[in-house]
């Protein structure tokens, strides 16, 4: 190797072939890694500046609001910020301590102060989340003590309302006296704390969230399966028809996308209601008697039918895009090798559609889990999903912390499913288009 000194690249090669532990250097002795980084830094900076607007947009409109919303699920200072004295007393004493004179004094002072500042409603609302029916206790007491309150505080407060002596109320106030709490999550899975702080199930007639979670996942799974059964043959047809015909069919598949949700839902009502088209036809055909008209809307059946229809394109499109790339000669090869058409489908064609099926199933399932409008419109009470409960907490009960906790659990569950999918199938096998 006589020309080693002349060739600038030779330095690199010799180092590389020599001691493996020594970092590589360029011809003039600078570390190769740093030289590479410097030579590419301009291009990298430019690329970063190009994506900066999008990054800023996502941070402002997505990351920050979602983060703030999720924070509400474990942080609520509606009580602690407005009732500082009694919160301090709760912090100093053990759980289960009987309220002493200092406690009653602190409570009276806080009630008077927050009533004066017109914050007593916020306090009542916060306690009401954990112990329903207590908001009016706070507001009515607040009205009476706004002008001032005289000792003995315990007796005065009890005179205003006997309920102030309820140990359950005191336990609840202790619970809500810290801004950070896991209680919204407990409530989301139908759990609560008793007076001693032990976690227990809520009364049977109040258990609703777990059932709704199960229903949401079960219905989403069922809808995913239905879209697969209905969508697979259509996707196959789309992928194998000549271009002109398949374009027409594709428009029919996409038509639901372009139609207003309200129009679609209204047409479902026209078709499915008890005096609707389908029932009329069934009665006319004599399949069912006039008195046994089927209830197909405003219940689970309505939710399933309408959501399957709406989500069908999300299954068809990824399947179609994968099927279009499968060369027909694979199935021909299988047939020539002696496989019946069913075996060729099962062993050769179907396995190759799995990336599209996985992507479609993920899309449909995740969309279905979070679907809100359709169940709200056609679901009746038995077709409501967890997202309808989240919406209710957002818009009517205004318990945003509860809504946030439910949403966080939903997100967590979907992430767990995604992780499972990755373990079983592998996310890099997904093909969305």
């Amino acid at each position: 190797m006589a020309n080693t000194a002349l060739d600038p690249h030779a330095a690199i090669t010799t180092t590389a072939s020599g001691v493996a532990t020594q970092p590589l250097t360029t011809a003039d002795g600078k570390p190769l890694v740093r030289a590479l980084a410097r030579s590419q830094s301009r291009a990298r900076r430019k690329a970063f500046l190009l994506v900066l607007p999008l990054l800023a947009f996502i941070v402002i409109t997505f990351v920050v609001p979602i983060g703030q919303m999720l924070q509400r699920s474990f942080h609520n200072d509606g009580f602690s910020a407005n009732m500082p004295n009694i919160s301090a007393w709760f912090a100093q004493t053990e759980r289960g301590t009987q309220p002493d004179d200092a406690a009653w004094q602190a409570l009276a002072a806080d009630l008077q102060a927050s009533a004066e500042a017109r914050n007593i409603g916020v306090v009542g609302t916060r306690v009401n989340y954990d112990m329903p029916g207590t908001r009016s206790l706070f507001t009515s007491t607040g009205r009476k003590v706004r002008k001032g309150i005289e000792p003995p505080y315990r007796e005065t407060l009890l005179e205003i309302d006997e309920e102030w002596a309820d140990p359950q109320l005191w336990a609840t106030m202790r619970e809500v006296s810290t801004p950070y709490t896991a209680n919204f999550y407990l409530a989301s899975v139908d759990r609560t704390r008793d007076a001693d702080g032990n976690i227990q199930q809520v009364d049977e007639n109040q258990r609703v969230y777990l059932m709704l979670f199960w229903r949401t996942f079960w219905l989403s799974g069922l809808i995913t399966a239905l879209t697969f059964v209905l969508g697979f043959p259509i996707a196959h047809l789309l992928a194998t028809l000549p271009m002109r015909k398949s374009n027409l069919l594709m428009i029919l598949v996409l038509l639901p996308f372009w139609t207003s949700l309200l129009v679609r839902t209204t047409s479902w009502m026209v078709l499915l209601q008890q005096q609707g088209v389908i029932n009329d036809i069934l009665v006319w055909l004599g399949v069912i008697g006039g008195g046994q008209r089927l209830q197909m809307i405003y219940n689970q059946a309505g939710t399933i039918i309408a959501m399957t229809h709406i989500l069908l394109p999300f299954m068809i499109l990824p399947l179609y895009s994968v099927m279009r790339t499968i060369n027909p000669s694979y199935v021909r090869a299988a047939r020539s090798l002696g496989a019946t058409s069913w075996t060729a489908f099962r062993r050769i064609y179907f396995p190759q559609t799995l990336p599209g099926l996985g992507a479609g199933a993920m899309l449909v399932f995740i969309l279905a889990v979070g679907y809100y409008i359709t169940p709200a419109l056609v679901g009746g009470s038995s077709g409501q999903l967890i997202s309808n409960m989240i919406a209710q907490h957002m818009t009517s009960t205004l318990n945003w912390s509860m809504a946030a906790a439910l949403a966080a659990l939903l997100l967590g569950a979907v992430l767990v499913l995604y992780w499972l999918y990755d373990r079983l199938v592998g996310v890099d096998n997904l093909k969305l288009g």
Partner: protein
């Protein structure tokens, strides 16, 4: 090779016609008999109907009219998986989600063969194409030539009597293609199978086949062994399609059995062998191979007619010298000379008289 005219055809097409749209015929009245153990190539330009014929034989297309027989039995109604025909596809069609071993095992599995027998067979087939080490690879991890070998092994692993190959070497580079041609040829001889091979590459067809069927316009233009096809083309299409060819247009001046005298359009007179012309005064195209053209009087047969030619250029090609001549008003007349010691060197502008053995000039249908 094996002659089939004694009713022993292994594969037979009888008056087969095929139409896709009901308007035009892609295959027009095809008659073809292939003997057992024969290597027959269907050669033709794209759209000539050769692949359609192969697909009808494999069972992926149905004949619109006519009968196809395999080993004496009509197979028009037999589904592809019951025909027991091995097939190698243009893009190999190796199943991408299976390993090489699973690909080869597939035809044996669907035949319900027990596991240990499958394993022996797969191993034997892989060794046959020297790919034994690759049994656990996926097709995507193999090069084009390796995939080609696996496709070949898969088509042979279940011992079919008939193997169809649809332009199997089309995607390979030249060197590998030539190597694979020999390998396929040797496998054919070694296993004694019948092969129907489709290609548009005439070199491939001539190298490998026992007989070549030249397709054009939905018909077999000529069915003959390679040497005959090259030396005795039956019509102008075959003469022009196979190898390099000089075509001279003229009129029949004299006709005496096979011997014909042709008056070229510029007045020159040449000897030719009549092939598919019938009478005096008919228009004809005379076809002569460039390497059969002579310009040295001592090499021409006695009494042969010669015509005037002008050298336009001489191209040095190593093993041969290639001269482009102006003959009878055409500037595309080519003459090939072997590059030997003592070869007369022509130069541009020179005038020579050229001629040929009458057998080498074939008077065919006018183009």
């Amino acid at each position: 090779m094996l002659d089939d005219r004694h009713g022993e055809a292994f594969v037979a097409f009888e008056h087969v016609q095929k139409s896709y749209d009901g308007q035009t015929l892609v295959v027009k009245d095809l008659n073809l008999s292939i003997g057992k153990g024969e290597f027959v190539t269907m050669l033709g330009p794209s759209g000539s109907g050769k692949t359609t014929c192969l697909m009808m034989l494999a069972g992926f297309e149905t004949a619109t009219h006519g009968e196809i027989r395999l080993d004496g039995k009509p197979i028009n109604q037999v589904p592809p998986h019951k025909r027991g025909i091995g097939m190698v596809f243009q893009n190999y069609a190796l199943f991408p989600h299976m390993t090489v071993g699973e690909n080869l095992s597939f035809p044996l599995e669907v035949r319900g063969m027990p596991r240990d027998e499958r394993e022996t067979r797969v191993k034997r087939a892989l060794d046959m194409v020297q790919m034994g080490k690759f049994i656990n690879r996926r097709p995507a991890q193999l090069s084009g030539g390796q995939q080609q070998r696996i496709a070949l092994a898969r088509a042979l692993v279940f011992d079919p009597q008939l193997v169809l190959m649809d332009e199997p070497l089309g995607a390979l580079d030249k060197q590998l293609r030539e190597h694979m041609q020999f390998e396929i040829k040797h496998l054919h001889e070694q296993l004694g199978i019948t092969v129907v091979y489709v290609t548009h590459d005439q070199g491939e067809a001539l190298t490998m086949s026992d007989r070549v069927a030249v397709f054009n316009d939905g018909r077999i233009q000529q069915l003959a062994p390679p040497a005959e096809l090259y030396e005795r083309p039956q019509n102008s299409f075959v003469a022009g399609f196979i190898g390099e060819n000089n075509a001279l247009a003229g009129t029949i001046e004299q006709l005496d059995g096979e011997k014909a005298l042709v008056r070229l359009d510029d007045g020159g007179l040449i000897d030719a062998t009549a092939v598919n012309i019938r009478e005096k005064g008919q228009r004809t195209t005379v076809s002569i191979r460039p390497e059969r053209v002579e310009f040295k009087p001592e090499m021409m047969p006695h009494g042969a007619h010669t015509i005037e030619a002008q050298v336009i250029e001489v191209i040095y090609m190593g093993d041969i010298l290639r001269a482009r001549l102006r003959v009878a008003g055409s500037e595309n007349f080519v003459m090939k000379m072997r590059n030997t010691i003592g070869q007369t060197h022509l130069h541009a502008g020179q005038s020579v008289r050229i001629g040929w053995h009458p057998e080498d000039a074939r008077a065919l249908d006018p183009v």
